[in-house]
Symmetry: D2
Subunit: 407 residues, 4 copies
C-alpha cells in the first residue's frame, strides 16, 4: 500500500519517469489556511543542487493544489497535490551496463522479483523522487499541527559517517553509560533549535560550526573518491500533547518507527535513550515525575481542548513517550541512513539473467551523502505520524467527556 | 487500534486484571494443521519463573482455541484464542504508594492522560501480560510460514546491559567500521541457529557459554541491588521468499520496525548494518550480486509458487531487504529494550494530583531484565509482519501470471 | 475480514460448532458504564425459542466480558466478549444426506469453493449463530450512543411474506406514487416507537395488532407446510446528530447498507424513499428546509459538543441523509430478508462431487421465518455504523474549532 | 475516507471548482496493458450532453495517466489519474438565491454542518463531477477483470419514474410472487447483453425499443415541466469466479451494496430476488444445484488458477451469491436513484441562517433524469468491488494449496 495513516491519511503515487508525482491527503481538517506557498519551502529544502557537495541536478518541484481548498482554506475534502517530473533524463545513469546488471544494494532486483516487470527507472517507487509526495503531505500536516496545537518539529544532521555531533557517549558511573537525553549539547538544542537555525549550517544541516565543517570536508573527500557515506538524523518534536499513541500495536514509537523506516535508505531508528538505554540501569533510566510549572505559553494547547499534562519528567530518557503514549515532554528520535548505493565506481556484480558476473559502471554525478536532504523528509514523516495519532485521540476524546457528563 | 496486519490480521484484548487475554486471528489460510499444542510452547517460553533470575510468579497461560478450526485444521475463518488470567493479585505492587504516585517510566500516567480513567492495573494494556496474545498469534503465523514456505525465525539475546555477544565493533580500514553482518560470530550463527540451541542457554538465551555466564551474573547482581538493566535481541529470518514488502510506506523494514517497536520496553530497531551502516562507505556497504547456487533444499519454496531468487548477494549489509523488498537473503534485525521500570527501590516522584513529590515504594520481586523472556515475543511479531507481507504479495501475485498469460 | 468499522471497530469470530463465539470491540470510549447485563437483553431478544412459531432450541447465550472494563466502566482499551456454544449438536441436521448434498441456497457449497475445506457446520460463519457477536457488540455501541448523544434505534417487522404493515403504496397524483416517509402509519411510529412497544407484538414484532395476527397465522401455516417465508424490517434512528457520514465512498447510507447487507439472508436495502423514491418527481421528493424549533429536549446533544442542526426538513423523503451526510432528521431504512433456506422438505439437488442429483432431506424443526429474531441484529448493525461515523466525525471535529480559533 | 477497497484500493479527490479531479489506484497488478484510451470510453459514456434529453454542458474529461505505467503496461506501482476541470463556471447556478438558501435535498446544508465551512460548489464532493474519478478507476479494474478472468459487467436502465422494463411483478401461485430472476425479459438479457447493445438505446440505455421510447418521452415531458424523475439501473456481472466475498461483514452483497449506495442519488439496492424475494416461499426461492456442463469457454478462468465451480444452480434467485460468497452464477443487482434535486422551479425553503423561509430560484438547464449517465458509474463501482474481492481471495488462495501440499 502506498498509504500512510488511518485518520490523517496520505496516499502517494509516482516514480522518476512518469509524468508527475502525486499525493492525496484525506481527512485534513477543514478551515486550515493552505496555499501552495505553505508547501513549497519544504519541497525546496528537499531539493538537490543546493550546494557544491550535493548533486547538481536542478529539479524544480513546483507543487500544485488540485482540490480540497477554496479561497485559501481547506474544505475538509481530500487535498490533491501534484508535482510535475520536469527533469526525467532516464538514460543518464550509464544506460549500457545498468540494463545488464541490477545495481548492488539498489532496488532494481527486488522490484523485478516483486512485480515481474523491469521498469526503466529501476525500482521507481524507491527513488528519492518518491519522497516529494511525502514532503508535500508532511508540510500540510505540520501546518495544522503548528497552527492548531503549537507543535514544532525540527530535524538536523547528527552524524555523517563517523563524524558525530554528540561525540562519544559519555560514560558515567563505572559500567553504566548515559543516554543522549543527558548529553549537554543535546540539552542545549532540544528546547530552542529551529529550522532556520539548522539551515544556517547548510550544506550539511548539522548545528555546530566545527562539526559541520568536518562533515563537509568528509563528504567532499568521498565525492572525489567516487564513494559515499551514510549518517544519522536526530528529530525533536516539541509541544506534542500528552495522550497520543494507541496501546499495543500502534504505540507512538511504533508508528514513528514505521514512518521513519519507510524513508529510503534508513537502517535504524531509536527513540529517547535508544540503544544506549539498553545499557543503563533502571534506577538511572527511570524519569521521575515533577509538577509542570504554571506557564502561559502552554495556553494555546490548553485552548484547543487538550489541556497540558500537569506532570512533567525531570529527565527524559523515555523520549517523551511512556507505555506507547506521549507524556507531553519533547519527543526525540534518531534515524540511521546507509551510504547511497549509487556510486561512480565500477562494481563487480551478477547479471540480471544470472549468467555470470561483470562490471557495472554508473556514470554521472551522484550524491555522496543524502542526510542533509533527508532532513525535511524526516520532519514530514514525523508530522504525518503525529497528525494521525492526534486524530485517533480526538475520535475518542469527546467521547470521554460525554461519558463523564452522562454519569 | 489493537490490530496488527492488513491481511494476516491479529486483534488482541486483555489486561492484567480482567478475566482473560484474547486474540482473534483473521484471514489465516485454511487447511493448516493447528491445535493448542502448536501454540503452547511459545507461550511457555514467554512465561516468567523459568529460572532463579526471573520473576518467580507462576503464570499458567494455557491457551484455548474457540473457533476457526475443526478436526485440527484451520477452516479459513477467524481463529479465536483465549488465555485465562489465573494469577491476578492486583495489590501485590505495594498498593499504598502506587495509588498516590504514578510509577516513573511506567504507563500509569500516560494512560490516565489518554483515557481520563485510572485502572487498578495502571496502563493495563502496556503490561507484559498483553504480550501473551501476540505470542499466541505469532505461533500460528510461524507455523504457517514454516510448513508452507520453510521460513524459520530465530531470536536470541545479543546483549544484557553492556555485556555484548558481538563485542566491540571491529574497526577495519582506518576511518571505516564494519557491520554486524560481517562479524565472524554472527556469520557462524546466521545459517544454523535454532530455538532449541538458544534454549540451551537458559536463563539468558544468549548462544555463547562465556557471554551467557557473564550476563547471568550481571542480572543476579542487579537483582541484589534492587535495580534492573536492559539489553538487545537479534532476530534472524531464514528462507523468506524474495519480493515481500510494499514500496513506499510499507517497506518490509518499516513494518518490521512497527511490529518490533510495538513490544513493550523497546527503544530501538535496526535492520542489517543498522546504525553501524551509517558509518560505512558505500563501496563497502553495497552488496554485490552473485548467482544463486542450484540446490535442492530450496525446492520447497519453489513448489509453493514463489520460486527462489536466481541471484543472491555476496555480503548482506542490507539485512535481506533492498528498496523495502526482501531479496531472498536472511533477514536480520536487532531491537533494544530498556531496563524494566519497576524496581524494588524507593523513588522520589510527583503525586498524581501534582501536589508535590514523595517516595514511591514498589515492593515485591521484579524481573531485573526481561530480554530473555522477550525472545519469543520478538519472534512472534516478526512472524506476523512476514505473514502479512506474504499475503499482500499473494493478493497481487496471481495477477502477475494472469496478466502475463493474457498477453 | 471479520471486522466492521474503522473507528468503533468490531472483530468477531466463531461458528456453530466451536467452543465459543467471540468479539473484540476496539476503540470504545472510556468511562462508559458497562456490565454484562447491559448486553444480555439484546442477546435474549435475538434468541430462538421465544414462542410457538420460532425454533424451539433453547440457546442460553450468556455473555462474559473478559477485558476492557473495571469496576463497571470501560477503560478505553479493547472490550473482549465471549458467548459459549452450549448447544452444539452437530448431527441434528439429518447428517446422512447433508454430507452428500450441499444445501440449496445455503453456504455449504460456496464455503467449500472459497476455502477448499468442508466444515461440519457447512458455512459456519454464515450461520445465524455468528450474529450473536454482532448483537453483543451492537449493544455496547447502542449504550454509548444512547447515553452520550440520546440516539435511539428501534427496528420492527414491516412485512412477512406478502403481509405488509404499510399496505400498498398510496398513489397520489396520477402517475406519481408516494414514499414510505409520507405513509400515515409510518408517521405515527417514527417519533414514538420503542423497543418495549415492539416487543408487545411478540412473536412477530410488527407493531399493529391486526397485521401481527395475520403474520403469525401465515408463519404457522408455512411451518405446517414445511416451508418458509421472508419479510422486511424497518429501522428508525432518532436523535442522530447532523454531519455524520463521509463524502464519496463512505456516505452514511453506504456504510449502513454495508452493515445491513452483511446480515445473513438479506437481499435488499433502501434508505428513506428507497425504490419508491425512484418513481417520484423531484419537486415532490425534495425536502424543503424549515427552521428547527427551539426545544429543550435537544439540549443533551448540544451539550456534548455537536449542536443540533438549526434547520430541519418539512418532509423526509431523504431518510435523514443528504449528500451522504446526516441532516439531523430521523434516519430510516428498510431491509429485505429472504425465506430461510433450511426447510423440512425433500429437495432435489446435485451431489458435492457433481456426480448427479438426488434427494436432500433436512429433518428437525426449523424457523419458517427469521425476521422477528433479526430485529435486534438490524438494530445492532445500525448502531455499529452510526458509532463509527460519529467517531470519524469527532476525529476531525476538534480540528475545525482549533483551526477556527487559530485564525 | 475517500478510499474504496482494501486490496484493489482507490483513493479519489476533487470537486467541481478545483483545478482537477484525481484518483490513485493502489495495488493494481503489474503487467496489465493500460493506456489512456482504455479509460476514456467509460468517461465519455458518463459525460453529459450526449443527447437532447441530457444537460447540454460539454465537459471534456480527458484523462491523463501520471504514474504506474511504462511502455503501456502497469508496473504494479500506484496509478495516478487526473482529469482537468475545464468548465468550472461556479456562478451558473443562480448565484443570488443559492447563497442565501441551502438547496433542498442537496448537500449544501449537510456539508456545512459537517465541515463548518461553506464551499462555493456546495457539497463539492457530492457533485456528479466526483464520479469521474470512480469511472476512471473502474475502467482500470474492469480491464483487469476482463482480460485476466473473462469477467463482464453490463448495466442498463431498468426503469425511469414508473416506466419499467420488467413491468409488473408476475404473480404465480396464489399468494406467491416471483423474482426478477425468473422474469422472461431478464432471462433473455442476462447471458447476452453487451454495453454496445445497451448504447444502441441511447439516450436512455434501456434495452427495449418500446420501453426506451416511453422513457425518453417521459423525461422530455418532465424537462418541459422543470421537474425531474428517478429510476433504476440493473447490473449483471458474468463470469465471476466462485469463492469471492468474505464471510460475516464483507459478504460480497454487502461490499457491492456499499459500493453502489455510495453513488450520489442512490436510495436502494437489491441483490438477486431482492425485495421480491422477501415475499417468496423458501421451497420456491431455493436454487437447487446441478452439475456444471463441461464447456471450453470456461477454460480461461480455469487457466488463471481459479477453476470454475463444478456445480451451478437451476434458478438464480440468489443472484450469484450464497452465504455472502459468489457461486459462479451471474451476479445481478438493482439500484434505485432518486429524482435529481436540482430543478428549474422555484422552491420555498429556509435560509442558511435559520431566519425564515423564502424562494430559492435555480436557473439553468438541469438533467431531469440521471440514470442513463449513471450506467457507467454503476459498472465502475461493481468492478471495484469485484476486483477487491478477487485480490482478497488471492491473498489466501495460494495458502490453501500450500497448506494442502504440506499435508
Amino acid at each position: 500500500m502506498s498509504t500512510f495513516g488511518k485518520h490523517f491519511r496520505v496516499t502517494t503515487a509516482g516514480e522518476s519517469h512518469g509524468k508527475f508525482i502525486s499525493c492525496i491527503i484525506d481527512n485534513c481538517p477543514p478551515g486550515l489556511a493552505l496555499v501552495e506557498s505553505d508547501i513549497q519551502p519544504q519541497l525546496t529544502r528537499r531539493r538537490p543542487g543546493q550546494s557544491a557537495i550535493t548533486t547538481p541536478r536542478n529539479e524544480k518541484d513546483r507543487v500544485t493544489i488540485g482540490s480540497g481548498t477554496e479561497f485559501g482554506r481547506t474544505l475538509g475534502t481530500p487535498i490533491s497535490l501534484i508535482v510535475m517530473n520536469e527533469d526525467q533524463r532516464p538514460h543518464d545513469y550509464g544506460a549500457k551496463t545498468i540494463d545488464v546488471y541490477p545495481r548492488p544494494s539498489h532496488s532494481d532486483w527486488t522490484y523485478l522479483e516483486k512485480y515481474g516487470t523491469k521498469a526503466s527507472s529501476g525500482g521507481g517507487r524507491s527513488s528519492a523522487r518518491e519522497t516529494i509526495a511525502r514532503v508535500a503531505a508532511g508540510a500540510v500536516a505540520e501546518k495544522w499541527l503548528r497552527e492548531s496545537y503549537g507543535i514544532e518539529i525540527v530535524a538536523f544532521v547528527s552524524s555523517v559517517g563517523n563524524i558525530k555531533l554528540f561525540g562519544d557517549r559519555p560514560t558515567t558511573d563505572g559500567d553504566e553509560i548515559d543516554s543522549l537525553s543527558n548529553h549537554p549539547k543535546f540539552l542545549e538544542l532540544v528546547d530552542t533549535l529551529t529550522r532556520e537555525k539548522v539551515d544556517e549550517f547548510l550544506p550539511v544541516r548539522c548545528p555546530d560550526d566545527a562539526v559541520a565543517k568536518r562533515m563537509e570536508e568528509r563528504i567532499a573527500e568521498l565525492r572525489d573518491q567516487h564513494d559515499s557515506t551514510g549518517g544519522t538524523i536526530t528529530c525533536i518534536i516539541r509541544g506534542c500533547p500528552s495522550g497520543l499513541g494507541e496501546p499495543c500495536f500502534d504505540k507512538l514509537e511504533a508508528t514513528l518507527a514505521h514512518a521513519i523506516m519507510s524513508i529510503p535508505a534508513t537502517k535504524g531508528f531509536e527513540i529517547g535513550s535508544g540503544f544506549q538505554g539498553a545499557e543503563m540501569r533502571g534506577s538511572r533510566h527511570n524519569d521521575p515525575f515533577v509538577s509542570t510549572p504554571a506557564v502561559d505559553d502552554i495556553a494555546l494547547s490548553a485552548s484547543v481542548g487538550i489541556p497540558p499534562s500537569r506532570l512533567q519528567t525531570k529527565t527524559n530518557h523515555s523520549g517523551g513517550i511512556q507505555g506507547g503514549i506521549s507524556n507531553g515532554m519533547p519527543i526525540f528520535f534518531r534515524a540511521a541512513f546507509k551510504p547511497p548505493a549509487t556510486i561512480s565506481q565500477d562494481q563487480t556484480t551478477a547479471r540480471y539473467d544470472a549468467s555470470g558476473e561483470g562490471i557495472l559502471t554508473t556514470k554521472g554525478r551522484h550524491d555522496p551523502n543524502v542526510v542533509p536532504r533527508a532532513v525535511p523528509i524526516v520532519e514530514a514523516m514525523a508530522a504525518l505520524a503525529i497528525a494521525d495519532a492526534l486524530m485517533a485521540q480526538h475520535a475518542r476524546h469527546l467521547g470521554v467527556k460525554i461519558a463523564a457528563a452522562a454519569q
